[in-house]
Subunit: 313 residues, 2 copies
Amino acid sequence: MLDRIALPAGSQPEPVLVLGSVAFDTIETPFDKGERILGDSASYCALAASYYAPARLVGIVGRDFGEEHINRLKAREIDLEGLQIDQSGDTFFWAGRYHENFNRRDTLETQLNVFETFEPNLPEAYRNTPYVLLGNIGPNLQLHVLEQLQSPKFVVADTMNLWIDIMKDPLLELLPKVDVLILNDDESEQLTGEQNVIKSGKQLKSMGSKSVIVKKGSHGAVLFHDDGLFSIPAYPVEDLRDPTGAGDSFAGAFTAYLAATQKTDFASLKKAMLYGTVTASYTVEAFSCNSLEAVGVTGLEGRYEDLVKLISL
Amino acid sequence: MLDRIALPAGSQPEPVLVLGSVAFDTIETPFDKGERILGDSASYCALAASYYAPARLVGIVGRDFGEEHINRLKAREIDLEGLQIDQSGDTFFWAGRYHENFNRRDTLETQLNVFETFEPNLPEAYRNTPYVLLGNIGPNLQLHVLEQLQSPKFVVADTMNLWIDIMKDPLLELLPKVDVLILNDDESEQLTGEQNVIKSGKQLKSMGSKSVIVKKGSHGAVLFHDDGLFSIPAYPVEDLRDPTGAGDSFAGAFTAYLAATQKTDFASLKKAMLYGTVTASYTVEAFSCNSLEAVGVTGLEGRYEDLVKLISL
């Protein structure tokens, strides 16, 4: 039986729909290099989510996406009915290099391949999914998915600098339709023009999403909610190997924890942030989803307790 | 009567000795300029401390240090018996300029003046002070003060990059003699050669001080203690005017809160960090000690409650 975090007796996790890109990444860090490893938003989001609730993936891969990768996702019982396999081309490919302190990375190569013409049309069985994570992907596609859903209960959206640059209008159109917008401090500044994280987050919240989470990398994250602010540190990772996918893992675990508990009040969002944080802490300790796939619930629960202690008076 | 934070009935705060430099600073920020304003470690530390416990200042000023500045310190009932007034020269002067995002500052001018030959010899009445804050000043002078004290109960030391550069040996000699070493993340990296804050803090702790606090500016601070780690965010300041003195205010309030409560266990250090954080949050909202002198206990207690909420699950 698939291991998932323990829930109160009788509670039944609801499914979470995960939209995003699936790619092969070639990543250079100061320590190591990973060649054509499984990555991108949908992979990390769905695998992270799978420890909390059943995940339904929406994405596209090409003819080079071998059985072994399909099996990695299936091993975590991720529903792949929404994963399009396009035999006319190859899977999205990205190559990047991190600098000494991991604070900056350069893109070395991007091949969109089959992703270029991706239309995320939902299978019928996905349309009533109550919890939705619009992972990092063009806001036009995020909107397209949202339109196909029948009254979702809770929608989380992630984004990135690229979309703020080239698709700001659809992104602004998306904001009032989501419950939680997740982005990092640079993106928050880019979208609001405001450097101060607190001012910027408050301003973002006024742009339409019910709540906003601003991620600050190794410095944690801040939630801006109607009931107040909540700030948490990152999990104290000593052996950072590859930060790729940390944000996606955070978002996947965050959304799926809410789906698992079926609660979305302020207190639940806070706990979901803690689970997001500890799930991401595993992701960054290895290339690709390797550590995320290996961790197991005991590891996640252990670090959750650590994190609670780390912030408790 | 001087306002100090409320303590449980019957408890009597113990005095805290504050060693440091007193200077006139000329500071340029992206918004404003302050000319020859009261500053440096002892000023901020002592004024911050005065909201929690009686402060005894050890420092030196010159013939240009007017009555109005003496009166500012006296207004907070800071004991100035240990403040040497050297008529042979002027007060230490520093000029600096902050860059756009306050993350970096350049020193434009430094005139040591009377500070150059400062010998911090303690008045007899100071020698039995139980709580000691060795504010940012050469570690040779910090050691000299420590030698004159009769069995202090709790010693906190602050330092900076300059001393790590030019006085590393006396600094290393100091570490095993202090209960808490406070420094920022850059200094922690400089002293240990380790970029990862968690690894670096742990390594520092192994160098002799009982505990270590690594400050991360607007990202908060981490305590490394025998009983575990504790991480807090900065207070969410929206109107940052001048970060000068934030670290000193943190250290002053931190040490004096311990002196006030006469408890120095893990839980007390955590609360002291919160008081340090909120006290510093006022300092950075105005030039010099202006906001720190104006705040009052109600403001500090209000922000303490805010900060507790900000980190509470």
